[in-house]
């Protein structure tokens, strides 16, 4: 009798310990999740990269290459591709001198186009009807753009230094120097201004103005994103042990149901990711060809294609990036070599808009239904509401991950309920 009493007490204690452990674990888990919110995106991107690489690893296994060696080869390819990408990007990105010229050209051209369109070319012109209707609003927009492209005092000084030739770079062409002077006039400043005078003195002395270091912000980004390759490697090495561990937590009654549900969700998300990757590649290719056709330099068209391909993964806002870059280039372009006879620097921006619209239509009408296919068979309203909700709750990460998440939830719930019914659980 005493023994049975002790046993019951022990069992009660055991239950309390289990329950308390579970509650504490859940509470700590939620706290850690909230605290490490910034790490969610690198973690998920690393997991997705590992997921995408899994079929490649299976392919190497089929060819008789051991798993370890396969991972080693994959990592080699990953680092090689990253190095190539970084080299290509750094070649494409303008250096300090080119940045100054680009800003100067952009500032000059945007004000020139504004004056042309608004009928403000003559010094005493009062503007056309468009100016009277939209003038004030457009001026505000241009002022906002000016903040980004206007050279500050330090940059003006640097421009002066480069205009004479600096760091083995040739002097800045006269045409752009004239733009620079016109820009200064536009800002109601003359070259004889005190600041410019100071800068000229600095230029003659060869002094470089002080620039703020971006090192700390770059380090902050690296600090967070360093997690991504670790997650990628860890998940590739894992070989199903994590899945087994979680399956181990599932009660026997739901064992076969969960295996089936996980498999179906896995299948759906795999289809979605393969489809999206192919669609991204096709969109990138379409943009490159389109921009080459309307007269962009091949190198620039390929770069915009690459960016467009990557940003296609961002729902709704994907086409904004190629459109933005294309329009910026069309504003400063002076020589257009298009095989289309009617294209010139003046109407290049129309070509950009037409190109973006055509690619968008092809994406919606062909790539989306035929390439991404039924894996994302979601109602547009669900997608839009989900995207806005996701972006409000989790910002950029929410925007990026909402559709795959909806795919997972949809497949999970539909399969789960079907299976629970089939197993007579509900």
């Amino acid at each position: 009798m005493n023994n049975s009493g002790t046993n019951t007490q022990q069992k009660k204690l055991k239950r309390i310990v289990y329950l308390a452990t579970a509650l504490v674990t859940v509470a700590v888990g939620i706290y850690i999740f909230l605290m490490l919110r910034a790490l969610i995106l690198p973690f998920i991107i690393g997991s997705i990269a590992a997921y995408i690489c899994a079929p490649i690893l299976n392919f190497t296994k089929r060819r008789g290459i051991p798993r370890g060696m396969g991972i080693f080869i994959l990592l080699g390819i990953f680092f090689l591709a990253t190095a190539l990408f970084v080299t290509q990007i750094s070649n494409i990105l303008p250096d300090e001198r080119e940045q100054l010229i680009l800003k100067t050209r952009f500032y000059y051209k945007i004000h020139e186009k504004y004056r042309n369109i608004m009928g403000l070319d003559a010094p005493d012109a009062k503007g056309n009807i468009l100016y009277s209707v939209l003038g004030k609003d457009l001026k505000k927009a241009i002022k906002a753009i000016d903040k980004f492209v206007m050279l500050d005092n330090d940059e003006q000084a640097l421009f002066m230094i480069y205009s004479l030739g600096h760091k083995d770079k040739p002097p800045i062409p006269d045409k752009y120097y004239q733009y620079f002077q016109e820009n200064l006039k536009e800002r109601n400043k003359k070259l004889e201004d005190i600041v410019v005078k100071e800068n000229q003195e600095k230029a003659i002395k060869g002094e470089e103005p002080r620039k703020d270091s971006m090192l700390s912000s770059i380090l902050d980004v690296i600090y967070i994103w360093i997690l991504m390759p670790f997650v990628f490697l860890f998940l590739l090495i894992d070989d199903g042990e994590i899945k087994k561990y979680f399956i181990g937590m599932i009660p026997n009654k739901y064992f076969e149901v969960s295996l089936t549900v996980i498999d179906r969700v896995n299948h759906a998300i795999g289809n979605y990711m393969r489809g999206t990757l192919t669609a991204c590649g096709l969109v990138g290719l379409a943009f490159s060809l389109g921009f080459i056709l309307i007269g962009f330099e091949i190198k620039l068209a390929l770069t915009i294609g690459l960016i467009a391909g990557i940003t296609r993964a961002i729902p709704l806002y994907g086409p904004v990036f190629p459109l933005g870059i294309g329009l910026i280039y069309s504003l400063i372009a002076e020589d257009v070599n298009s095989i289309l006879p009617f294209m010139n620097a003046g109407n290049l921006f129309i070509g950009v808009i037409v190109c973006v619209v055509i690619v968008r239509v092809i994406d919606e009408a062909v790539f989306q239904p035929f390439v991404v296919g039924s894996a994302v068979n979601l109602h547009p309203l669900v997608v839009n509401v989900g995207l806005f909700g996701g972006s409000i709750l989790f910002g950029f990460a929410g925007l990026l991950l909402t559709i795959p998440l909806i795919v997972v939830i949809k497949e999970f719930t539909s399969t789960l309920f079907r299976q629970l019914k089939a197993y007579n659980i509900i």
Partner: protein, 179 residues
Amino acid sequence: MEDTDKKINTFWGNIFSSRKDSDSDSDTDILRKCLIFQKLSRRELKKIANIIYERKYSAGEHLFEKGQPGAAMFILKKGLIKVVATDRDGGEMELADLQAEDFLGELALLDDSPRSASARAIEDTEALAFFREDLYRLLDTNPDIASKIFKELAIIIGQRLKASNEQLLYITVGKDKRP
């Protein structure tokens, strides 16, 4: 109360069971004795051991029930299982008692058609579950292993069909005219 406690223990046991290399080795030994995997080399058996799930069942707990869609085959590691079906009057009819190294539910490896009988643990049992979709994936990653398994499965099903035919003939024609 006793039953609930056992289930809780089994649940936590599944979570905190630490799989060591020795476990994997003993799983490989169990798998080798299973007819379906008998043609596989030790290396191939290790690959199978990596994709199987270890489950623990308390006495009285079902591995699967008649009519449920099958998703996995079970190989018994320890314990005792009773395979039962319902007769015409709704009563329980015992079909077989299975013990360590026996396997059951192998038809689930072909499709998800409903289980033809129920399997219940008579005592605390440990089983290895082999999931159908993992076998299908093996067709992609290790087609040589998958083809050996499917061949053995076909032989076993063929033998069972032959035995069923003989039994049917015995029932319908009679003992004396049995071939």
